[in-house]
């Protein structure tokens, strides 16, 4: 960094006025008997963005604190921070190399989408059952294991051959079968296995808790899901050994170049897609992100357009009222736990072609999911998805922009934690959490 003084002065300014705004604003609003639910966050954002120039009028006029105001102030803070960074380190790749910035942003979005899918399952379980599943990472691991072992089985190899033959025999009309059908089998298998394990576990261990037959349900849920996590991890290790495995990519991209000569706009090889010569996404990662987006769409359709989905949401909002309308909350609990486990399993199945897979692979993934759902707001589905994107982007920005290469990647687990700490300080319910 060429001019670290600029960067650190601006950072200290942001932190100082952010802290002043975050602490004083709720008190000013409370004294004037106004809504203080957003006061901490809004005060911190406005203070960090404008310092005393913004805070003094805010405290005098105490306007209504809308989400738009907070977002605007937040964007200003990011803008000031980025400008300070650019002035302090003009040769940094994140400042001087536009292609690099776009690539890192793309990486962040792609991995953020995948994080979001993983966290969605966890937040779905929490919103319906009120339980934080500590076995979520293990469902993720099992999804990947199921997909891997099926992918190397003779059955799957035969299936691929048949799909290829069908695609060839139909002269390309059913070419998509070759691409879509075999991987779909892997994903569906992972979904079914994790869903079934989730349903069985809920019926055996959580139903009695939800029926009020367990004395200390909070502690019971933590212990029993921890127990499940250990059991699944070591049971899998006993079955599969602790050696890492990795599935081959689900399909090869067709070779495409636009324009035909240079491929400057789009260039696809079997294992990579390059857009505008700068944005490069490896096939497995792209595939996993597409699966996550499709699954998110299906989940949203299910939750908002079907009776069962609406019933799930109803139970998450008011269990007793939902029961009065004829919804069986116990069945919804079972369904939610199964679906949550299934979403984790699906994430795992889509990522087993990206990462080496071990029985312990779910531990960091689960830890990240906990960060995401607290960041997004416990029980909030959009919050989980947005939280995933934020964590993905922050990790990409941190890894890409921190000048010291010996630290940039080593701090990956810390980036999400920093954001989480800030959000918890300013908005303890998370970005999209329900106000208490």
């Amino acid at each position: 960094m060429e001019n670290p003084a600029i960067f650190w002065r601006v950072t200290l300014w942001i932190l100082f006025w952010g802290a002043v705004g975050g602490v004083v604003t709720p008190r000013v609003y409370a004294r004037k008997d106004k809504d203080i639910s957003q006061a901490g966050l809004a005060g911190a954002a406005i203070g960090a963005a404008l310092g005393p120039i913004g805070l003094i009028p805010l405290w005098i006029r105490t306007p209504k604190l809308t989400g738009r105001l907070i977002v605007l102030a937040g964007l200003m803070v990011i803008g000031i921070f980025v400008a300070a960074f650019a002035l302090a380190d003009p040769n940094n790749l994140c400042v001087a190399n536009g292609g690099f910035v776009v690539s890192q942003l793309t990486n962040g979005i792609v991995i953020g989408i995948i994080y979001g899918l993983m966290a969605l399952g966890l937040t779905l379980i929490f919103s319906i059952l009120g339980v934080v599943s500590f076995a979520h990472g293990e469902f993720y691991m099992i999804g990947g294991m199921v997909a891997y072992f099926l992918s190397v089985s003779p059955f799957y190899k035969e299936l691929r051959k048949s799909a290829e033959a069908l695609a060839e025999n139909t002269g390309g009309i059913l070419a998509f079968v070759n691409y879509v059908f075999p991987p779909l089998i892997l994903l569906l298998s992972a979904c079914i296995v994790t869903f079934v394990i989730g349903v069985i576990f809920e019926r055996l261990f959580l139903r009695e808790m939800n029926q009020g037959k367990v004395e200390r349900p909070g502690e019971y849920a933590i212990l029993v899901t921890f127990g499940l996590a250990f059991f699944l991890q070591y049971f899998t290790q006993a079955l599969t050994s602790a050696n890492p495995v990795k599935a081959q990519r689900f399909w090869d991209f067709p070779r495409v170049k636009i324009p035909e000569e240079s491929g400057d706009i789009l260039k696809m090889t079997a294992g990579n897609i390059t857009v505008l010569r700068e944005i490069s996404i490896p096939n497995p990662r792209f595939t996993a992100a597409v699966i996550a987006v499709v699954m998110l769409g299906i989940l949203m359709w299910f939750l908002y357009r079907t009776w069962t989905g609406k019933a799930l949401r109803a139970v998450s909002q008011d269990r007793q009222a939902a029961a009065v309308t004829g919804i069986n909350p116990d069945n919804m609990n079972t369904l939610a736990f199964g679906m949550g486990a299934m979403l984790a399993g699906l994430s795992g199945a889509s990522l087993v072609q990206v990462f080496s897979w071990l029985p312990q692979v779910g531990i960091p993934a689960a830890a990240r999911s906990f960060v995401i759902i607290v960041l997004g707001g416990m029980g909030s589905l959009p919050g989980a998805f947005i939280g995933g994107l934020i964590v993905g982007l922050v990790e990409a920005a941190g890894t890409g922009c921190i000048p010291d290469t010996t630290r940039a990647a080593a701090y990956i687990p810390a980036y999400g934690m920093i954001i989480l700490t800030l959000v918890l300080l300013l908005k303890p319910t998370g970005l999209f959490g329900r106000e208490l």
């Binding site: 006993a238 990409a396 990956i412």
Partner: protein, 458 residues
């Protein structure tokens, strides 16, 4: 009634799960059990008969004399440790134990090898070493893979005055602290770095590769950080720029780092991250167009586990890999015999360097106890200092010791209780799916079996 049925059902399910676990866990049992099994039982049989015939009081000294001598062994058998390495070491150490017991045990007593899982974590390594010493009562410890674990465990063995022969940890400080109990047959980190850099300079100056900038991907451990620092220093002396990227052990997603590595436009990449992290990086780099087929890459030594390597890094052809120990063509009889048993036990075609080291670490302890004629720690240490053991790695001695300390010998303290001559070669995968046994030895020229294929050169 319903509750009773449900309870019964739950109990039945639990029983089935426990049975399934028990049935599926041979590997876990193998770790802790005496490796002697067949041979030990055969050897012990006459003593057993005598014991049955003799009156109870008279049997006591007999029983005591047939008490197994317990030797501990460290290996990373679960993540985030390098599991592929740990499992190879476990198999190798079990072969050593079987051989020792088949040959009559140690001091006429059977040997019991207790292998514990360090998970590649210093805190776990410390805990299992404490257990080995204070609960299991081992007289010496062998094995060990991760440097960070070695650095921590050496303190435990020193505090408890139990000799240890480290098989694979490379960190220089393990021996440079000059603890009487600590011996090592693995190479020193600084020596390995020196070989790596000599290889890179050779690639540039002799093989004609254009290498001006090297990116090092290292793990944040007592192995990775010193190795990267020493390599950077030595590369600097050869006018080669080095940029180091550090990651946590067990890192999975390298996408952000790979973009930065790409932006550095390196002429060569070195992977100083062990275990699964190395596989993840190598394949993700290949996916991003800077893999072993695009840029010369010195992959991590776990790449020598061919099956795991090709499963996890299908685009890993042309990886250079550092191998500790002689090339197969130059194996001595001990190594050939070990390889045959290793193949039979594991189905693998080649033995990894850490398997050879692990095997030797147990056998050298057994020979030291035999020569000491006692399981007393001081006697074993003295025997190790004077030992001349011919093993799979060659003839092992520890010439810098209490009688010839570093200051008297005029060498750095890192050579204390250190096997001075482990052979280090660089091999290259030159065909997809190739077994590590069949890889081409490219460096040093003395051992070379072929020329390197240098990718990415215009």
């Amino acid at each position: 009634m319903l509750r009773t049925r449900k309870t019964l059902w739950l109990l039945s399910l639990l029983a089935i799960l426990i049975l399934a676990l028990a049935a599926c866990a041979p590997a876990a049992e193998q770790v802790g059990e005496p490796a002697a099994e067949q041979p030990a039982q055969e050897e012990a049989a006459p003593a057993q008969e005598a014991k049955e015939e003799a009156p109870a009081e008279e049997a006591k000294p007999e029983e005591a004399s047939m008490e197994p001598i317990k030797i501990g062994a460290l290996a990373p058998l679960s993540a985030p440790g390098a599991v592929v390495g740990g499992e190879a070491m476990r198999d190798a150490m079990n072969i050593a134990a079987d051989e020792i017991n088949a040959a009559g045990g140690i001091l006429g007593r059977p040997m019991e090898l207790i292998i514990v899982d360090t998970e590649g974590l210093p805190e776990k390594g410390t805990a299992v070493a404490e257990k080995l010493i204070n609960q299991d009562g081992v007289v010496a410890i062998g094995g060990g893979y991760h440097s960070s674990v070695g650095v921590a465990v050496k303190e435990v063995t020193h505090d408890n005055h139990v000799p240890i022969v480290f098989a694979e940890p490379w960190n220089d400080t393990i021996t440079s602290v000059m603890y009487p109990e600590v011996f090592r047959i693995a190479p020193l980190n600084s020596e390995v770095s020196a070989v790596d850099v000599k290889f890179i300079i050779w690639l540039r100056d002799v093989a004609g590769a254009d290498i001006n900038k090297v990116v090092l991907l290292t793990e944040n451990t007592d192995y990775g950080i010193p190795a990267a620092e020493e390599t950077t220093r030595l590369l600097g002396e050869a006018d080669i720029d080095a940029v180091t990227f550090s990651v946590d052990i067990g890192t999975q997603d390298f996408s952000g780092i790979i973009e930065r590595v790409k932006a550095e436009e390196p002429d060569m990449i070195m992977v100083l991250a062990t275990g699964e992290a190395s596989y993840n990086f190598e394949q993700q780099a290949a996916d991003a167009g800077i893999g072993p087929q695009d840029v010369p890459m010195l992959c991590n030594q776990v790449s020598l586990v061919s099956d795991a390597f090709w499963t996890n890094v299908p685009d890993g052809n042309y990886c250079f890999v550092r191998r500790v120990g002689l090339p197969v063509q130059l194996y001595n009889d001990v190594a050939k015999n070990f390889l045959a048993q290793y193949k039979e036990r594991t189905g693998k075609e080649a033995a990894e360097s850490y398997a050879l080291e692990a095997y030797d670490s147990i056998k050298i302890i057994a020979q030291a106890i035999e020569e000491a004629g006692s399981t007393d720690a001081d006697a074993i240490i003295e025997a190790l200092e004077n030992i001349e053991y011919t093993g799979a790695l060659g003839t092992i001695t520890f010439p810098i010791n209490s009688k010839n300390p570093p200051d008297k010998a005029g060498v750095d303290p890192k050579w204390w209780h250190q096997f001075p001559e482990p052979a280090i070669t660089i091999v290259q995968y030159q065909e997809e799916g190739q077994d590590s046994n069949d890889t081409t030895v490219v460096f040093p020229e003395t051992y070379a079996t072929g020329d390197p294929i240098i990718v990415g050169q215009e």
